[in-house]
């Protein structure tokens, strides 16, 4: 009894001295801390906030990037007006992004979590399966697009040969979104699986054993013990899914540069801004819309996190 109290006292006192020494040597730490805060802040402000604000400003203009700043014509809300009224790819793009989000969440994310739970149990060959499922994540999306092209090609693709059909997987605008989503899922599942598996490995096995001793079956111990403990990982997974579906871009760009049934906002922004099109005003307006949509999700996420911290 006495020995434990004394060690606790010793610990508190040592903590106190440490705190005291920090107070005594403030200039050095202060410099370090301020440098560590100021430099990243500067980066964030210069590379994220300033360009974002400039995009908002540019979205009210018509500018092709040629000539000085005074060659910019200010046209008010015209870009937004055009986007919502006479720009045909816009509404399909919004719809496709939402489909993407829904599909990614209910399809590959849940599948990845299931795979992680299954592979977490020490079964024969689990390492092999882990590698096999994770493999697509290592491949670049350019390569993923190419690999799936081999499956999906209408005339020479494997899928049509095996099924003996003539479906135009990438070209038919009623199926190509789903074809691309399957290709994305192929990659996304492994990604989520690995993150979740890493989280599961961090769960103390004694908790599960305790649950088993208390008579909980496999499913009960997962949903009542493991799943609540995985809360931080679950949060990360949700954020990743939201980010992945909003930034969805690479694969559709590889397939057909985001046209014909594969319109998504990020691709529309690129079509207008990157390269020679140089519709900076119009593209910025699209980017601002994308930013607004993202901020809805970010706000929700931050509110949840802060609520959590307040508890």
């Amino acid at each position: 009894m006495t020995s434990t109290t004394s060690t606790t006292e010793a610990r508190t006192s040592s903590r106190a001295t440490r705190r005291g020494s920090r107070r005594r040597l403030p200039w050095r730490d202060r410099v370090v801390i301020s440098v560590m805060v100021v430099i990243p802040t500067l980066f964030v402000v210069c590379l994220v906030w300033v360009p974002a604000m400039l995009s908002v400003v540019l979205s009210f203009s018509n500018w092709n990037g040629i000539g000085s700043v005074d060659s910019i014509q200010w046209i008010g809300w015209k870009n937004y007006d055009d986007i919502t009224t006479i720009y045909p790819p816009f509404w399909p793009a919004i719809k496709h992004n939402l489909i993407w989000l829904g599909f990614l969440f209910f399809g590959p994310t849940l599948l990845g979590m299931l795979l992680a739970v299954v592979l977490d149990r020490k079964m024969v060959g689990s390492r092999f399966y882990q590698t096999a499922f994770y493999m697509p994540v290592v491949l670049s999306l350019a390569l993923v697009g190419f690999i799936w092209q081999l499956f999906y090609s209408r005339d020479q693709g494997l899928l049509n040969q095996v099924l003996n059909t003539q479906i135009d997987w990438y070209g038919d605008s009623s199926v190509n979104l789903w074809a691309v989503l399957v290709a994305t899922a192929w990659r996304h599942t492994g990604y989520i699986m690995l993150i979740y598996l890493a989280g599961l490995k961090g769960i103390d096995t004694s908790l599960r054993e305790a649950a088993a001793v208390d008579g909980a079956n496999e499913r009960q111990s997962f949903f009542h013990v493991v799943f609540p403990l995985m809360r931080p990982i679950n949060m990360i997974v949700i954020v990743i899914v939201v980010i992945e579906s909003l930034r969805a871009f690479d694969l559709v760009w590889i397939v057909n540069r985001g046209t014909n049934g594969l319109e998504i906002i990020a691709a529309l922004v690129s079509q207008n801004v990157v390269g020679q099109a140089s519709r900076y005003g119009f593209g910025s307006a699209l980017a601002v819309i994308m930013m607004l949509i993202s901020s809805v999700f970010i706000t929700i996420y931050l509110r949840v996190v802060f609520k959590e911290e307040r508890r």
Partner: protein, 440 residues
Amino acid sequence: MTQHHSSLPNLSSAIATAGSSRRGFLRGAMLGGALLSSSTLLDACGGGGSGSATGSVAFGMNEAAGSGPAYDRLKAMADAYAKKSGVSVKTNAVDHNTFQDNINTYLQGSPDDVFTWFAGYRMDQFAQQGLITDVSDLWPIDGMSDSFKAAATASDGKQYFVPKDYYPWAVFYKKSVFQKFGYAPPTTEADFTSLMKQMQTDGLVPFAFADKDGWPAMGTFDILNMRINGYDYHISLMAGEKDWDSTEVKTVFDAWRGLLPYHQPDALGRTWQEAATSLGKEECGMYLLGTFVVDGIPDMEDDLDFFTFPELDSSIGADALDAPIDGFCLAAAGQNQTGGKEMLKYLGTAAAAEAANAKATPFIAANSNADTSGYSALQKKSVEVVSAATHIAQFMDRDTRADFASTVMIPSLQQFLNSPDDIDGITSSIQKQKVSIFGS
């Protein structure tokens, strides 16, 4: 071939994931690398112009060093000029797509004196914005026909461009197939229709067709518009002077709709390479494409032949075609204007074209005095066809504003191929967007 993929998307994905995981960190590191390399790339773009005003000319090329025959030919031209004139030529070789995507920034920064570019509206736009120098005192160029001069002329009536080479768009077919079934290249609309019908009876799809990349269908629109409404109408339509919801344009779409049953279905999922393969495999009888179709089926080059798209209206004739011309411009912000112009003068000569063709697989030289002995049969025929044409168009995405072509026409033409019966809806949508982009 006129539009290419960009490598930029990887950046945005890297930005989005950075920080969310350790993989994010790695991606972030890659992003850093990408930014570094892009800044060196900008250096590479801009570094050329600072040379001294005498003795050295900077030459910007839209082909990366060692990327193939296209680069070898440009390099050979630069070397030949340096050797002939004693002027040192500083070459700046940039990847084709990167060069094209950065062209606005490049020309406004410190560009090379002479740079590779395209004829047509894309050149005209730069001329109007004062980004390239008037070189009309170099014209007429010995060996270049009036149609080349017209393609080098901007809307102010002056020349801003020196042509290098070109490739025509035409209807390709396999000689062996035409021989086997006893077909002959059609010259009238009636012949054309009966040929297509006969092919269907013989179990062939008359036209191979692909538009996954969005630009190949522009070739079909171009040729139908030039056959139905004529070259002049086509050029003013592309320049934004005519309305897209006019009867003339609707007639073109209507004719196209009539031809669609003779084209391969589901074109939107097919690349032009796959369509070329179906021509090679004798599933299709013909294919309207540029001469680069050979790159899709290289081992069949000897069996390939082509004819120009037949006449559809006898009052219009069949004397116009798409034959994109590549060449050179003089950057207005280049440091050495006189030296640059001297070099341009040389680049337009037959000697320059011969120097290029001596070192690599030849291109079809714009200068008709150039030696053609190294040309393949297809190239020789291309020369004949293009010299016979009175009007040469540059292809839709070079004859109109780049933003209009890529953000309006690609989706609209694909939309048309999806629902060919909605011509009114599609043309009125194009017209609204055209007014918004062109401002009238």
